[in-house]
């Protein structure tokens, strides 16, 4: 029960992190030039963006709850379970970021999630 709650926390904070960071980068604006001065300007804007800070905070929560989870749960359970993040992030992209998600994108994401789960299933040995 406790394990599932923390898995839920990892998946949710990771997905929220992705959604917030995307929102932040859309506010900062498109990165079109990779010249040092242009990148520096983008970096300054990104570092002072509230959405960006929320996103990085969520990703930090995801990272530390993931490590904590590994201290008592098997890697071969934790990794496949956290692959759910792919689907949850796309759900977030749809409802929060209002992205238009085609059927192919939904199906592709679900197949990838299952594939990642399968890859990490026997990573415990």
């Amino acid at each position: 029960m406790k394990t599932w709650l923390v898995v839920f926390l990892v998946v949710l904070s990771d997905s929220a992190g992705n959604v917030f960071v995307t929102k932040g980068m859309k506010e900062v604006g498109e990165v079109t030039s990779y010249r040092p001065m242009a990148l520096l300007r983008v970096a300054r804007q990104a570092l002072t963006n509230v959405m960006m800070a929320m996103g990085v905070l969520c990703m930090a929560v995801a990272f530390f709850s993931f490590i904590a989870l590994l201290s008592w749960a098997d890697l071969s359970f934790v990794l496949p379970a956290t692959a759910l993040g792919y689907v949850v992030s796309v759900v977030g992209a749809h409802y929060v970021l209002k992205e238009n998600i085609s059927a192919a994108r939904w199906i592709g994401t679900i197949i990838i999630c299952l594939g990642v789960a399968l890859i990490s299933l026997n990573s415990g040995d």
Binding site: N18, V19, V21, T22, M25, K26, V28, G29, E30, V31, T32, V42, A46, Y86, S89, V90, G92, A93, H94, L97, E99, I101, S102, A104, R105, I107, G108, T109, I110, I111, I112, C113, L114, G115, V116, A117, L118, I119, S120, L121, N122
Partner: protein, 148 residues
């Protein structure tokens, strides 16, 4: 094309960064007893390991490019594409490290590849349609609708 190069760089930096980091952390080793002094020495060994430093540098590069990709593309497109890291890791482990890869892992790698092709090809077709629609609009002399 530019987006394809950007996403490829994101994936390659992530995979090589993780490989270097994992190699470095194996050299550093785990700390057996947890006490103040062992944690400090573990920390010092970690931040002075060249493999760890190189890995962290590449992973920082990965995150910056990931953010650049998210600034111009949709999350629901970028995230599935970055799963290519799993495919590249499997190929790397198989071809260069000569690790044996279980059938289940190959099946998973195949599924991930399939999913990426599905998302990527549908995006490719959508972009082509947008391009054609824009060309038709230009021919008719109407303002092209502001696309994403």
């Amino acid at each position: 094309m530019k987006n394809f190069v950007l996403l490829s760089l994101v994936v390659v930096l992530q995979v090589i960064g993780n490989v270097l980091l994992s190699r470095g952390m194996r050299q550093v080793g785990g700390s057996e007893a947890i006490s103040g002094s062992t944690i400090v020495s573990f920390g010092l060994r970690t931040v002075s390991n060249p493999w760890v430093l190189a890995g962290v540098a590449l992973l920082i590069g990965f995150f910056v490019l990931y953010l650049a990709a998210l600034s111009r593309l949709e999350l629901s497109f970028v995230l599935p594409m970055t799963a290519a890291a799993y495919v590249l890791t499997a190929l790397f482990a198989w071809l260069i490290l000569h690790e044996t890869i279980s059938p289940a892992r190959w099946a998973g790698t195949f599924a991930v590849t399939l999913g990426i092709l599905l998302v990527g090809s549908s995006e490719h077709r959508a972009a082509k349609r947008r391009g054609e629609a824009q060309a038709i609009n230009l021919e008719q002399g109407t303002e092209p609708r502001a696309a994403d």
